[in-house]
Amino acid sequence: MTKEKIYSLLDEVFQDVFDDEDIHVTSETTANDIEDWDSLEHINLVVAVEAKFGIKFNMNEVVSFQNVGEMVDVIVQRVGAK
């Protein structure tokens, strides 16, 4: 899966979870960029990303993501390995 494809699927996930069709994420996007992105929504986001890509993050990954780019790095590893 190309990174472009991953980002476009992530856009769909973010748009669903935050119910905002104008959201487009980049590797630099963080929780500070999206108003409703609090710790509770973070759970939903993680679960929705896992469902979208058919993967499971481990605990350390979930707590270590600093921005969307780091999440994409893990997705690339997992999806590539499939």
Binding site: I43, N44, V47, A48, V62
Partner: protein
Amino acid sequence: MKQFEYPFDADYLLSKKKRLKRELLAASDQFLEIKIAILGGSTTSDIRQILELFLLHHGIKPAFFESEYNRFYEDAVFGNPELDELKPDLVFIHTTYRNVRNFPALSDSSEAVQEKLETEFGRFRSVWEALEQKYHCTVIQNNFDFPFYRLLGSKDASDIHGRVNFLTRLNLKFAEYAESHSAFLVHDLNYLSAQYGLDRWHDESAWYLYKYALAVQAIPCLANSVANIIKALYGKNKKAFALDLDNTLWGGIVGDDGVEKLSLGQETAESEAFTAFQAYLKELQSLGILLNIDSKNEMCNALAGLEHPEGVLKQDDFIIIKANWAPKSQNLAEIAAALNIGIDSIVFVDDNPAEREIIRQTFPSVSAPELGTEPEKYIRILDRNGFFECVGISTEDLNKQQLYQENARRADLLNSFTNYDEYLRSLQMTARIEGFVPMYMQRIAQLTNKSNQFNLTTRRYTQAEIEAAAADPDCITLYGKLTDKFGDNGVVSVVIGHKRGDELDIVLWIMSCRVLKRDMEFAMMDALAAKCRAASVKTVYGYYYPTAKNGMVRDFYQLHGFTKISEDENGNTAWRLDIDSYQKQNRFINVED
């Protein structure tokens, strides 16, 4: 909405919950508003949000209080001003095995284990008693799921030191408490987690990361299960089936294959599955669910199929049989009209996806579950949907089949009279009308939640509220039970009035449509007037609040001699009656003292 019927897509519901909420809110303007407190022993944020969706799907709009993380005990026992302010109608206590504090140690004596059991139970009981005392509300309490590992392996279940054993006994104590407290209901988390699969149910990372005591993907399953209890409490259970015949109740097409070729009985795996499905429907019938047929067939072929010697269901098991070539939606509407129930309380069961889709398009409020094509799966799909979630079995439910058959005989009798008064006289009706008595509290509460048409104010009551009204010296309560020569109709009418000095406000007046045009409302008004006189009430006020369903009682108070004193732009009206001027109205019912 179909998305909320089993089998639902948990990931879809979780990721699109905000949009779904908007859509559900836009789909109706007739929600029943209730106040729910969620007291959690773990994180409950998504549980609240997904529960809200399932409740909206059932026509219930909740206002929530949600306790802070693991504050269920403190909020209940020591109180919380926000919770007080909400005055909950209902409290859901979401606790799991992770909230048990006093598990046995391997070195404990059996007395020590027993003491821990009592201590643990006592801690929960003090929560329930505090809530009961403060809010007189219904409490829904999870029982316990089993832990994700077992120190003793299988012996964990059979040794008193095992956690599985301890939780099983604790669950039984919860069940015992429920048996003696009608406003306390156990939500069976133990079964639900087993059904979901304990390996998937327990997600340790969800616990360590977010303090969710179950996998996030299991939340829709939990919410569905809890919402089913709540919707049942508020009278939103389904009441009847409209069943297809060919490839639904039996394998094969009776009109083409003939009765002897139908797949039914114990001969093949498939015929066993159809027979088991019929037996399942027969069990639901014993709970008061009405069975009806909506089939594209010649009537003679349909009836011949029901004569199949291996069939569990016979012609007599059905209230209404529609076997014809009319559109099924038309038959469905006629079944609802004949049974005098809302079309939204019918479950349409048909193996044909096209027929299901037409029904959904025509009547979005009718459930037409996705049966699939394998008869061995039918039971599971109906069961998991919780259409008939049971929150208390009343004798009314158990006798419902008989009630409807008696009604059919009354209809026959009516046809033999040309004068309606003569018909009423020939019914030899007797009624018992008095203040609420303990024996009927459950039925009275049920009636306040089920009656939509002959209902002046559409106020809903829980059993706890009914009991509170009965005990309140400033309330006049009446229930009416009607019997005639064909049988006992049971409790069919309920009235509640609030006293203000020598005035009375009628806050609830309902009657079951089962006894329409039988003069029962006149007998009830006579009894109310007598009670008012005995209580020195001089003036009675009646209120009518229009809904989509209660147009039939718009002029009710006028008919009973009240004078209209106000009407607002929404059609809400208020009425006054001077008790001294009231004259007895009932002519046909013998009222027992």
